[in-house]
């Protein structure tokens, strides 16, 4: 119903202040008035173990990158609660379409350390056949769409995937992760609009971590974060403390109900902070202060949950020590195994471009094989997979 006024009346969103849903304080105590979500002991422990494993994997793999064993790495550090908490509130068969920093969700779903390593080292067991840079994981079995580097492209895809789920009537939904930086891309706006118009069971999960590589939020948007954009698209929205896994879990659980039961999209904005660098190629000391980082270290999401679990006696100091040691050892042992494996075969260069290899591509490949036979020492990987006799190293990361 259109309401007419007869004096100019410009509106702004300034009076619209979106609150942040938070349950657990940094000491691991519930805020007054907060209601503890229904979370069973084993489920809470599974969530914590995934967060801890993600933290340890990230520490070890960044170190491995610094040692030159790995070409590239991206850490989830500081955002484990946002990512794992969201995954934990879904049905394990719901689709997750992530950006690139959400390995915690995959960890929660049960991706093994071996599976992580095979992708990171691009060996013959990598599901992606050594084609993408490290951290571009994917698992059909775990309903986790393979990561693509171009920013925000997964967001409208999530709308489409979820529309298919709605038509299939299988009761599943899709959750897509993205950063506040990606929310600037056109893809974000297209995705929200289509989801809203077509009543799609999709959860748009924005990790507002404060930075897009070097660019702080203040240079990315002028409004109160990403959440208010939901109103423009007539969509449910909630802002949540992204370092509080209980709040993230509960918000996502309720968002899923809206998505699945009403076929309506929901936007969740998790307020957090990227404690680590953007990637192993980045150096945040060039654009932000240590003091700023320290403020956020005090809000560490992993410690916060640990404190809560300890207070409930669902976790113990001994378990913590044992678990950390076990995980560190497993990561190191698995890494050694993964980096010793051979590269994907030469044929993987031309397979999967199309469902069937085209005649032109086959000709190009035959020519390449003839060339490698002529110069086997110049192409050790190719020569090895053609069984040509050359001394190949075990290094699996490029020719260096």
């Amino acid at each position: 119903m259109t309401k007419y006024v007869h004096q100019p009346d410009f509106m702004t969103g300034d009076e619209l202040s979106i609150p942040t849903f938070s349950l657990l304080d940094p000491e691991g105590d519930l805020y007054p008035g907060a209601v503890e979500p229904e979370l069973e002991r084993d489920h809470a422990r599974r969530i914590y173990q995934a967060m801890l494993a993600t933290r340890i994997l990230d520490e070890r793999m960044l170190a491995a990158q610094r040692q030159g064993r790995l070409s590239f790495y991206m850490q989830c550090t500081g955002e484990e609660a946002a990512v794992v908490g969201a995954a934990a509130a879904l049905n394990d068969a719901d689709m997750i379409m992530a950006q690139y920093r959400e390995q915690g969700a995959l960890m929660y779903r049960g991706f093994s350390i071996d599976e992580f390593m095979n992708q990171l080292f691009g060996n013959d067991l990598d599901y992606g056949k050594g084609r993408q840079m490290p951290i571009h994981y994917g698992s059909r079995k775990l309903h986790y769409m393979t990561i693509s580097s171009p920013l925000a492209t997964q967001i409208p895809q999530a709308t489409g995937y979820a529309y298919g789920q709605k038509l299939a009537g299988n009761g599943h939904c899709t959750l897509t992760f993205f950063g506040e930086g990606a929310a600037s891309e056109g893809d974000f706006h297209a995705a929200l609009n289509m989801a809203s118009v077509h009543q799609v069971p999709v959860i748009f999960f924005c990790r507002n971590n404060g930075y897009a590589i070097s660019t702080p939020a203040v240079e990315q948007f002028a409004a109160d974060g990403i959440a208010p954009r939901a109103f423009g698209y007539h969509m449910h929205v909630i802002r949540v403390d992204g370092n509080d896994v209980l709040a993230v879990y509960e918000a996502t659980r309720q968002a899923r109900k809206i998505a699945v039961e009403r076929n309506q999209p929901v936007l969740i904005e998790a307020m957090s902070y990227r404690l680590a660098a953007h990637s192993s190629s980045d150096d945040p000391s060039g654009y932000r202060s240590k003091d700023e980082e320290e403020v956020w270290r005090a809000k560490d999401p992993v410690l916060r949950l640990q404190k809560w679990l300890l207070k409930k006696q669902w976790w113990s100091e001994e378990e913590e020590t044992t678990q950390q040691e076990t995980l560190r050892r497993e990561v190191l042992e698995t890494m050694k195994r993964a980096e010793k494996r051979s590269s994907p075969p030469l044929e993987s260069l031309i397979s999967d471009v199309y469902a069937d290899i085209t005649p032109a591509l086959q000709r190009q490949f035959d020519q390449l094989k003839r060339h490698i036979r002529r110069y086997p020492e110049a192409y050790p990987r190719g020569a090895a997979s053609l069984d040509l006799d050359v001394g190949t190293g075990t290094d699996s990361q490029g020719e260096a």
């Binding site: 084609r131 840079m133 580097s149 171009p150 590589i213 031309i350 471009v353 110049a378 192409y379 990987r381």
Partner: protein
């Protein structure tokens, strides 16, 4: 003369252009205080202020749309797309707007001041999304100019020419060479011509044509060929649109043979355009088929990058086969 790598040469060119003309404005993702992820825009914000060198939100279509408007207004935008792989969200703005602005308005408006800088190419273990060479998509677009430098000296002179060119220029920077290519670069202002190829080496047996990072690879192949007594005429196109066919024709009329090399896939690649033009203009002089040494018709791989890349051995073999045809 100073010794500079390619990034320093590009930074120096931007510095000169901004100091000379206050209408020159640099922007893109992370180009501000951080100086760009490769540091091509280091210190420009410090020197020229936030209104002339700034970070944009992550929105490539927005960056180029904004740049189009800014250029139409009379400013001289130098927009950075962080990787050429990420230029495609801006494809509509570049192909339909940048390229056609002057034409569709009957020259009432134009965006000639616009330069789009973007790092392209492989050899950095970047896989599918940090390695592409998208030049062919843009060379199919009348109204654009497409320029690719091969070393620091060329980068500075061509970038200054691009910024001052009356037409919009897509400036593709070979990122593998950003720090690897080091050479003498005059500290003062100079320009190199857009639209002109450069004959880098003269020889009588075969013409070898390339651009950007391939020129270094071609150099190595030509050395191998010369050890076998084959004398190569080596041409760096430098500008792909409009490309300097006359220089290549003149060379092929002399040598009767041509090898073209690029990193992008074979089918629909720019080597096809060159081959078609040369067979049309040099048909009776050709002594062997025109050879193309390129990437395969696949997305850019990661682990098998070495096998995929058109390297010096593949180019050497093409030269050898052409000469022995």
């Amino acid at each position: 003369m100073a010794t500079m790598n390619m990034l320093q040469a590009i930074n120096n060119a931007l510095d000169i252009a901004m100091a000379e003309d206050e209408k020159v404005i640099c922007f893109g993702e992370d180009v501000g205080i951080f100086g760009g992820v490769f540091r091509a825009t280091s210190h420009l914000q410090e020197k020229f202020g936030k209104s002339r060198c700034f970070n944009t939100p992550l929105v490539e279509q927005g960056i180029i749309g904004f740049a189009n408007g800014l250029a139409a207004q009379g400013s001289v935008p130098v927009a950075e797309i962080q990787f050429a792989d990420y230029i495609f969200p801006a494809f509509d703005q570049i192909v339909n707007e940048t390229a056609k602005f002057r034409y569709r308005s009957g020259d009432l408006f134009n965006v000639g001041g616009l330069t789009i800088r973007t790092p392209y190419g492989g050899g950095i273990a970047g896989g599918l999304y940090h390695s592409q060479s998208p030049e062919a998509y843009f060379t199919h677009t009348p109204g654009l100019k497409v320029v690719v430098p091969r070393n620091p000296y060329q980068a500075k002179g061509l970038l200054l020419a691009a910024i001052r060119d009356p037409d919009p220029v897509l400036f593709l920077e070979p990122k593998r060479l950003y720090r690897a290519a080091v050479g003498d670069v005059p500290e003062e202002d100079y320009q190199l011509p857009i639209g002109e190829a450069e004959v880098i080496k003269e020889g009588t047996d075969i013409t070898v044509v390339g651009w950007g990072a391939q020129m270094e690879v071609i150099g190595k192949a030509v050395e191998l060929a010369e050890e076998q007594g084959i004398a190569c005429d080596v041409i760096d196109l430098r500008t792909l649109l409009p490309w300097d066919a006359d220089t290549v024709v003149e060379s092929v009329l002399k040598t009767g043979r041509l090898v073209v090399s690029h990193e992008a896939p074979l089918t629909g690649g720019f080597a096809g355009e060159i081959a078609a033009t040369i067979q049309e203009r040099c048909f009776l002089y050709l002594e062997s088929p025109i050879a193309r040494v390129t990437g395969l018709d696949t997305p850019f791989p990661l682990v098998l990058e070495k096998e995929y890349m058109p390297d010096h051995l593949k180019i050497f073999e093409a030269i050898r086969e052409s000469v022995n045809f």
